[in-house]
């Protein structure tokens, strides 16, 4: 086997030095009845070229060469080439969690830079070294708020990504806290598509630990964070802001009124990769430091006074506190956090803003072009949004999508599964990679559909 660095002679020599005659002597503690006496029934050993062929064939069965308007928590942004060059350096790729600080300063300093940039972007004081993703980060943020407040009520806006809400529900089941949802303002009302602040006000009580809102929310709409914070804080509860589209932070005001921010940083240079690995991160006000889950890197000095970085405050963590830990998390998403760190360093202070503005411009053009078709209209049209929008068509979304696919366009995501009240609605996203040509082509297909539908009626 080509990964194994031993000759048959090496093995024989080592066995004799150990003092056994066969390798199976070393497995003697495994009772005979449990020992496997045949080959595993898995594919035979493949050569490297065969492995590549196998995956190329699989890749060819996935969509390639399509223009895509999908977003909804997984965003297609340009990934600068140097990200992959750098993260494939073996010293980053094949290093372990930096517990031995003297020989992992590279990883530690990069995480320190990551924590700093996340604080700058979110307006929080502290940020951890990463969480699995935005959905589990949201669940852990709620658990954190329950610990901080000693209360057990969790309120979640219904405009939060449906899969985030599902994960929060799964985590909440046995935590002794209840997760209730707060609806959004319906179509046609003021602030349509935003969390219903009157309903929120009525729902928050002295038993509420936290309220979690997403901004931009699942419909792409910018929530009114100061107004939500005012209501939440009046009852002594914490406000958690979940951000699924990190690029929005380039142009959107940081949620400084929040107590905790849970960010999914996939947009910062991480491949879509069919949904993972991505990069969650929790940021918070400094006073909540001791309840923060996950790893933290801190600056300190060595015995000669030189600056260095270490994993710190580990008394919060499972390997020290065991069942009393702030979370059971151990491995996180370090290499993905490194990708996002490189991405932010490439774009920097000016670039992240320019990038976010381009996204805003593309989405504005797309929303206008697609809703200019008579039988398609923009929902929640007067509420500010970032780079996603909800389009309602006269035809069912499936019919529209099928027509678009014929032109090699993947249209918006059907919303009926999660929001049955939004009939024939789909969620569209445009990023800096979406071209005017693609948007115009999609609009033409929608117009065709309306012509066909019109001819039928």
């Amino acid at each position: 086997m080509r990964y194994l660095p031993k000759s048959p002679a090496d093995r024989a020599l080592m066995l004799s030095e150990i003092g056994v005659s066969t390798i199976d002597d070393l497995f003697a503690t495994v009772p005979a009845e449990y020992r496997l006496d045949h080959d595993l029934k898995i594919p035979r050993q493949l050569g490297e070229s065969e492995i590549i062929d196998y995956f190329k064939q699989a890749a060819a069965l996935n969509a390639t060469g399509y223009a895509s308007f999908l977003g909804a928590g997984a965003y297609r942004h340009y990934r600068p080439v140097i990200i992959d060059s750098l993260v494939q350096r073996g010293e980053f790729l094949t290093s372990y969690t930096p517990y031995q600080a003297e020989i992992t300063q590279g990883t530690l300093q990069a995480i320190f830079e990551f924590q700093t940039m996340i604080c700058e972007l979110t307006g929080m004081d502290i940020a951890n070294a990463s969480m699995y993703d935005g959905s589990t980060g949201a669940a852990e943020a709620a658990m954190m708020a329950v610990r901080i407040t000693g209360r057990d009520g969790v309120l979640v806006a219904r405009s939060v990504h449906p899969e985030y809400r599902e994960v929060m529900q799964t985590y909440a089941q046995h935590q002794g806290h209840t997760a209730r949802e707060v609806d959004y303002n319906p179509i046609g009302s003021d602030n349509a598509g935003r969390i219903d602040l009157a309903a929120l006000d009525a729902a928050v009580s002295d038993a509420t630990a936290c309220v979690l809102v997403q901004s931009p929310n699942f419909f792409g709409i910018v929530e009114d964070i100061p107004a939500a914070a005012e209501i939440v804080h009046r009852k002594g509860a914490l406000l958690i802001v979940s951000i699924a589209e990190a690029v929005s932070l380039g142009i959107m005001r940081p949620p400084v009124e929040a107590d905790i921010v849970s960010l999914e940083a996939q947009s910062f240079g991480v491949a879509l990769s069919y949904g993972g690995p991505y990069c969650g991160v929790i940021a918070a006000k400094e006073k909540y430091l001791r309840q923060m889950p996950g790893r933290l890197v801190g600056e300190t000095k060595d015995t000669k006074g030189r600056r260095g970085f270490v994993l710190t405050l580990s008394t919060r963590e499972q390997h020290i506190r065991r069942e009393k830990a702030t979370s059971n998390i151990c491995t996180n998403q370090a290499l993905v956090a490194l990708m996002t760190t490189i991405f932010l360093t490439v774009y920097g202070k000016e670039g992240i803003r320019e990038l976010a503005v381009q996204n805003l411009a593309k989405a504005k053009y797309a929303a206008d072009a697609l809703s200019a078709v008579p039988e398609a209209k923009l929902l929640f049209e007067n509420t500010p949004r970032f780079h996603e929008f909800v389009l309602q068509t006269e035809e069912p979304v499936e019919a529209v999508s099928a027509r678009l696919l014929e032109k090699k366009i993947i249209g918006g995501l059907p919303l009926a599964k999660w929001y049955p009240e939004l009939e024939n609605a789909s969620l569209w996203c445009a990023t800096e990679l979406t071209t005017r040509e693609q948007i115009d082509s999609a609009a033409l297909v929608l117009a065709d559909a309306s012509v066909t539908a019109g001819a039928r009626s």
């Binding site: 990964y3 020992r35 094949t94 700058e120 910018v222 940081p254 390997h319 069942e323 593309k362």
Partner: protein, 512 residues
């Protein structure tokens, strides 16, 4: 004239200089200094170029109203070459598997094949959107299904979910399923049993799922005390979380029947699966539910602390409780996600898990085949036993029980000279090795937990043995040298106390 001065010189050497080992594996060389990006930043430098906008410009303030931000804060401004150098310099401050043996016990730091990285970056794989239509995702679904089938066969279980994002997340999922199973029988039960040799994630997980944790003491062999277990297992016990082989590398048996007699389940922490693949299967020795770590056993890179992937395999009795969605095959052979699973514990992560890690793990399994996986396990066990044999005369072996893929010594003999496991570990750095795991498992005071994996040649193992023996001699004859190690790194030991007492967790601009 020829003989007497030589004798004299030898005597002087032996009297004056205490023993300092010969670090054969490494030679000191220069590494570049590098500040934080924030400290190197200058306004106006750029490392990006966006294409010109092909749509009309917009006024962000008009579109976003009050939600527009003034500026992005202190993000660095650097050119591309500076960024390449920055991160390349940082990388050279890290130790890595690619540089040499990384014998962290329980972590399985094996070779991370590069073809895995290559195939995970193929366009149809890396650019696949999780919500693209299922008929345009058949390749991704096939990868998921094929990996599932391989892992089910390797573990001897009946079914599996790949959704959990890491080992601890897999534990969480497996214990949630255990709870749902008991609940479906009318009583979720109260307690999860955890051996005192277990990883910290085990008790932390049980607590997160709402169980009380009861610790079980190990017996004199370092194994779960079967008699004590029989006493502890009642109708209130939901499961035992067992690491097998245990954290001292010992194979545990005779346990499943005791649990099953009282309706409790056997959960296996698969952290040490690298000792078992192709030689024995958890499903065959009575395990009901277990997680795997694709970033340990199946070669996906640790990446400095993740991403991981923690699939959970289980017996058919737990199948209804798997997280949603599950991959199902249509009559025509196409694949789809089934979300209609009324007894499911729910979703543990958005989308389908760390898919990019599935690709890498499957590439590893295909590169090995059944013969390669078995040889891998045998070599891992051979390596650990070779180290055990070569070091047991200089380091204390607290448990003499035969071990599989790792070996745990204690620092008892070195402590007599004031040298502890953490000191030996730091001195090992000067010899060009990453330390073993220190101070774990908790049942061994002053533990040195060594897992070489299959990826080490006899030559590398001999260098490691040589280094460990020389450090033992230094501890005996020159303890100060070991106590102040490492001596060859960019920085010496860091002040961890101040780091925790006065945390500095981010860079701040100098006050003007």
């Amino acid at each position: 004239m020829a003989s007497s001065p030589v004798v004299e010189e030898k005597e002087i050497v032996e009297e004056v200089k205490p023993f300092v080992g010969n670090t054969r594996k490494v030679t000191a060389h220069l590494t570049q200094n590098e500040a934080l990006t924030f400290e190197k930043s200058s306004p106006g430098k750029k490392a990006y170029k966006l294409p010109p906008l092909d749509v009309p410009e917009i006024d962000a303030s008009a579109l976003l109203g009050g939600a527009v931000r003034e500026d992005a804060g202190y993000l660095p401004e650097l050119s591309e070459i500076e960024i390449i150098r920055h991160f390349t310099r940082l990388s050279t401050w890290n130790y890595a598997i690619d540089l040499g043996m990384y014998p962290l016990g329980s972590c399985t730091m094996k070779y991370n094949p590069r073809v895995n990285e290559y195939v995970s970056r193929l366009e149809g794989i890396a650019e696949a959107h999780p919500y693209q239509p299922e008929h345009l995702s058949q390749g991704a679904l096939q990868i998921i299904k094929t990996l599932q089938e391989c892992l089910v066969e390797i573990t001897g279980m009946d079914t599996i979910t790949l959704q959990p994002a890491a080992g601890a997340h897999g534990e969480f999922t497996g214990i949630l399923m255990t709870r749902a199973y008991h609940q479906s029988k009318g009583n979720p039960r109260k307690t999860v049993l955890v051996p005192d040799s277990a990883h910290g994630t085990n008790p932390a997980t049980a607590a997160v799922v709402g169980y009380q944790v009861q610790n079980i003491k190990s017996n004199s062999l370092g194994m779960v005390d079967v008699a004590a277990l029989e006493q502890l297992v009642t109708e209130d016990v939901a499961a035992l979380m067992l690491t097998n082989p245990s954290t001292i590398g010992v194979f545990e048996s005779e346990i499943a029947d005791i649990l099953h007699a009282k309706g409790a389940l056997l959960y296996m922490d698969g952290a040490n699966m690298n000792a078992l693949v192709g030689k024995t299967r958890p499903g065959d020795f009575g395990v009901d539910v277990m997680h795997l770590n694709l970033h340990k056993t199946f070669s996906t890179p640790h990446g400095g602390g993740g991403p991981g992937s923690g699939p959970v395999a289980c017996k058919a009795i737990l199948e209804p409780f798997l997280p949603t969605p599950v991959v199902v095959e249509n009559a025509d052979g196409t694949l789809y996600f089934n979300y209609d699973r009324p007894q499911s514990v729910g979703r543990v992560r958005m989308f389908y898990g760390n898919f990019g890690m599935f690709v890498r793990a499957l590439a590893y399994i295909l590169a090995n085949g059944p013969d390669g996986l078995r040889q891998t396990t045998e070599d891992a066990v051979l390596n650990a036993n070779y180290i055990r044999k070569k070091l047991e005369d200089v380091y204390e072996l607290p448990y003499k029980t035969p071990t599989l893929h790792e070996v745990v010594f204690s620092d008892r003999r070195q402590v007599a000279r004031g040298v502890k496991t953490g000191d030996i570990a730091k001195r090992l750095i000067d010899y060009g090795f990453h330390p073993y795991t220190t101070s774990f498992p908790l049942i061994v005071p002053g533990a040195l937990m060594i897992e070489p994996t299959e990826s080490e040649s006899k030559e590398e193992l001999d260098l490691f043995v040589d280094a460990m023996r020389q450090v033992a001699r230094e501890a005996e004859e020159n303890p100060e040298l070991v106590l102040n190690a490492p001596h060859s790194t960019r920085i010496s030991r860091l002040d961890e106390t101040t780091a925790a007492r006065k945390p500095v967790l981010r860079w701040k601009p100098p006050v003007a």
